[in-house]
């Protein structure tokens, strides 16, 4: 009997019931959504880089270095001399070192110059290695490996030729069009900035910049590219180094060594520490999001209360009637409660 009345009563006030339901649903959806986004962001944030003990760059701020080298956000830091890389990678405490050279782009996606150590040692998430969806790692100087999102957005396939642009602006006017690159590999989706990165060899990076000084093309390099292929080009400078150490215990002492590097001013950061620092900055945003979501929820609650109060006022006669025929207050409360 009770259920029957509740259903009939709900049917009777379809409109307001539906609106209330929608308001509640949306507000709960917003709360859950914000919470979900927050956790996902944090997770993907923390999984950007894994198993790397130190990130080394030229001396700037630790956040700047992290943002630029790992997230490809912000302005480029100064470069590191190639010789410093050689010194560091030969250090007995170092197990592996990945050189990173940034600064160019392709249709808004950052170009990263690196070497084969990148595909071997780079880890993200739970110490996952990069895997190829198609093709293989770069071998030739003008080979390129692209992240999954680039392939998807620009509809690239293995064998396509692409031209890189100078600088990191999306609408760069200066093209490295003398030397087109060929796509030889497409990486699997990682959920990290790697998906949006164009990977080329350091040597390729160096060659396309022959004739460039301080970001301006001084003369046109007309050397045929075949000439470079076996000429043993060596890069002069890179942007940052990811370092894995043989023993985690050595991390701090090696960090100190780098920070006191005598050849040039360098900065070594612990990516975990810098990441959590960065997350703390983000937490303000996170908190305001949560606040907005709770406000939405509170306002929806008020809305529902208002609707309930209104319905009680509207149904005063009904309630009086139910009382007269012997319905107990709990019965009426339950009725109003469940049929809103």
């Amino acid at each position: 009997m009770f259920l029957k009345i509740v259903l009939k009563s709900l049917q009777d006030r379809k409109g307001s019931v539906l609106l209330t339901l929608m308001a509640m649903t949306i507000s709960i959806f917003v709360i859950l959504g914000v919470e979900h986004i927050r956790q996902q962001t944090k997770k993907s944030f923390e999984s950007t880089l894994s198993d790397t003990d130190l990130v080394i760059g030229s001396r700037s701020g630790s956040l700047n270095l992290l943002l630029y080298s790992v997230f490809r956000i912000g302005s480029p830091t100064n470069n590191i001399n190639w010789n410093s890389f050689k010194t560091i990678s030969r250090n007995s405490k170092v197990e592996w070192a990945i050189p990173l050279s940034l600064g160019d782009s392709h249709k808004g996606f950052p170009v990263l110059g690196t070497n084969s150590a990148y595909f071997k040692h780079f880890r993200y998430g739970q110490k996952k290695t990069l895997e190829f969806k198609a093709g293989k790692s770069f071998e030739q100087i003008f080979d390129v490996v692209i992240g999954s999102e680039i392939a998807k957005q620009l509809k690239y396939n293995i064998g396509d030729k692409i031209i890189l642009s100078h600088g990191i602006q999306k609408q760069s006017l200066q093209q490295h069009d003398e030397y087109p690159f060929q796509i030889v590999g497409i990486l699997k989706t990682t959920g990290t900035p790697v998906d949006r990165t164009v990977h080329i060899r350091l040597e390729g990076m160096e060659i396309i910049h022959v004739g460039w000084q301080n970001g301006v093309q001084v003369f046109k390099n007309n050397m045929p590219k075949e000439q470079f292929l076996n000429s043993g080009v060596e890069p002069k400078s890179i942007t940052a180094i990811l370092v894995g150490l043989k023993s985690k215990l050595a991390t701090f002492s090696f960090q100190r060594t780098i920070n006191n590097f005598s050849d040039e001013p360098l900065l070594a950061i612990l990516p975990g520490v810098a990441l959590s620092e960065l997350w703390q900055i983000m937490s303000l945003l996170e908190k305001s999001l949560l606040l907005v979501a709770s406000l939405v929820f509170v306002s929806a609650c008020f809305g529902v209360s208002a609707v309930l109060l209104n319905s009680i006022r509207e149904r005063k006669e009904e309630i009086r009637l139910l009382r007269i025929i012997g319905a107990s207050p709990p019965f009426i409360f339950a009725l109003i409660d469940s049929s809103g």
């Binding site: 009997m1 029957k4 009939k8 049917q11 009777d12 009086r320 007269i324 025929i325 012997g326 107990s328």
Partner: protein, 230 residues
């Protein structure tokens, strides 16, 4: 003991006031009504008639005094006991809003029997019997109550009030929403079922033309002594 049993209503020393402003509404030193009598209580509005009826059916309790119905002192019962006493012993017909608008006539009647102890499988049959006895058109039985005419609604209201075979029927200006012709019909019908079922009927109202249907007529000012003091 014997006398008490004959009394349908026995009030003594009742006083009721609203807590908010301490304004007293009712003061009834003594009032009795014999069982199976039909009484028309006449009085103008704002004299506490509705409060009086609410006390009679146990919806509210007076701050002071004794409310006895058929030998049971209902203001001594707890809330749940009062609710069930009301469901089993008292039928009520208002001026309007007697039915839950989104339920059909039959459902309204069955709902009323839902709260009484006479739970049986004949609920629906009893409801239909009552409706046909009260001349409610068969085609209206399953219509939503809000779609019935006022006259029909009042008849369904009587059916609803009678489904639990109450000993006491309280009506609060039951005819004021009806036109003259419907009023006569309604009152005749009401008196018929009341006499047939040996029900005590208390009717309040301000329409003196109703007086002829009742065997007792009383001024409310004779019951509530506060009316004259004011």
């Amino acid at each position: 003991m014997f006398l008490k049993k004959l009394m349908a209503i026995n009030l003594s020393d009742i006083s009721f006031y609203y807590k908010k402003n301490h304004s007293q509404i009712l003061k009834i030193p003594k009032w009795k009504l014999a069982s199976k009598s039909t009484i028309f209580i006449q009085g103008s509005s704002g004299t506490g008639k509705t409060t009086f009826l609410n006390i009679l059916c146990g919806l509210i309790s007076p701050q002071k005094g004794k409310v006895e119905l058929f030998g049971t002192q209902i203001n001594r019962l707890n809330a749940a006991q009062r609710d069930s006493f009301r469901a089993n012993n008292i039928g009520y017909v208002f001026q309007q809003f007697n039915l839950i608008p989104y339920l059909s006539a039959v459902e309204n009647i069955i709902l009323a029997s839902h709260f009484s102890k006479n739970q049986n499988n004949l609920k629906k049959k009893n409801a239909l019997d009552l409706l046909s006895k009260l001349d409610v058109d068969r085609k209206d039985w399953h219509l939503e109550a809000r779609n019935l005419s006022v006259g029909q609604q009042q008849r369904v209201a009587i059916a609803r009030a009678l489904i639990n075979k109450p000993k006491l029927l309280i009506t609060d200006e039951p005819t004021s929403a009806l036109d003259l012709k419907n009023r006569e019909n309604f009152m005749n019908l009401l008196m018929d079922v009341v006499n047939e079922n040996h029900i005590t009927l208390v009717c309040v109202g301000h329409d003196p033309t109703l007086a002829k249907f009742f065997n007792v007529v009383e001024e409310f000012s004779n019951i509530n002594k506060l009316v004259n003091e004011k």
